[in-house]
Symmetry: C2
Subunit: 143 residues, 2 copies
Amino acid sequence: MKKKITIKLKQNDYKMTEQRETVLEVMLKNRGKHLSAEEVLEKARKKSPGIGIATVYRTLEKLTEMEVLYKTVFEGGKFRYELYDDAGSKQQHHHHHIICLKCGKITEVQEDLLSGLEQKIESQGFKIIDHDLKFFGYCPNCK
Amino acid sequence: MKKKITIKLKQNDYKMTEQRETVLEVMLKNRGKHLSAEEVLEKARKKSPGIGIATVYRTLEKLTEMEVLYKTVFEGGKFRYELYDDAGSKQQHHHHHIICLKCGKITEVQEDLLSGLEQKIESQGFKIIDHDLKFFGYCPNCK
DNA sequence: AGACATTTGATAATGATTATCATTATAGAT
DNA sequence: ATCTATAATGATAATCATTATCAAATGTCT
């Protein structure tokens, strides 16, 4: 995985640095979580104490471009990043989220029943590339 | 509509002021659009030249609380507000959006095929209150 | 009209993200 | 292994949207 990405970087004239490796490791270790830049910084500093927030932002942005990470917003006014389920190989779709309105817990939904709806929309002349679906409600603990 | 909201405001010890009325009118006139606070300010100043951005934010927030407006984020780092399809009467669901990756045009999708998926999720112990679904792709013009 | 609480506008403060720039590190050639 | 060109880094300033503050103005009720 790390190798794959190093190669991808090289193909684009990017260099694999200690900081980028650290950020990537943080994301790999936190598969399934949705980290903010600040949270990534905190975790990254355990391995690379000198790393700055600007580098974290730049690296997250780069990894998003490369379709290794998925960038989304839960609260508003703040981005969160997560590893694609099948990071490394390009993919269009990914899981959805249920956000608990009480405790804020985020649960994944693997189910994907949207292809039918997408087909309907495409029959009206659109070309759908991706979708983003979030559910709001209460998780079993808070219900 | 305006009357309904005036009454709702009174019930909560809020006052109907010139500025609130102006913001409400702007939103009513722009049914189907997704305005940022800055855009609302601009339009509102045509009728109430002295209105300030803080008041616009406060009013949009209040109307969102009252479930007259729906607050969402398209680009990230910026909220947008739109009138509920059936503003005034509480409702859980509303249309979805298709965002063109080229020209940025936002189109509405009325179709709602998510109830099946919601039922599946609820059968796992969740209680779903609302959902937010966005499609990304190309509109007929840009395809 | 008068009293009182709410609202307003101007502006400062905040928080997240992006830009700037001098210094440092990397990849590839020698 | 060293050199060189170029990209990357860290510190910090700048930006942008949003929120907080507070004195002055306004709306509601009597």
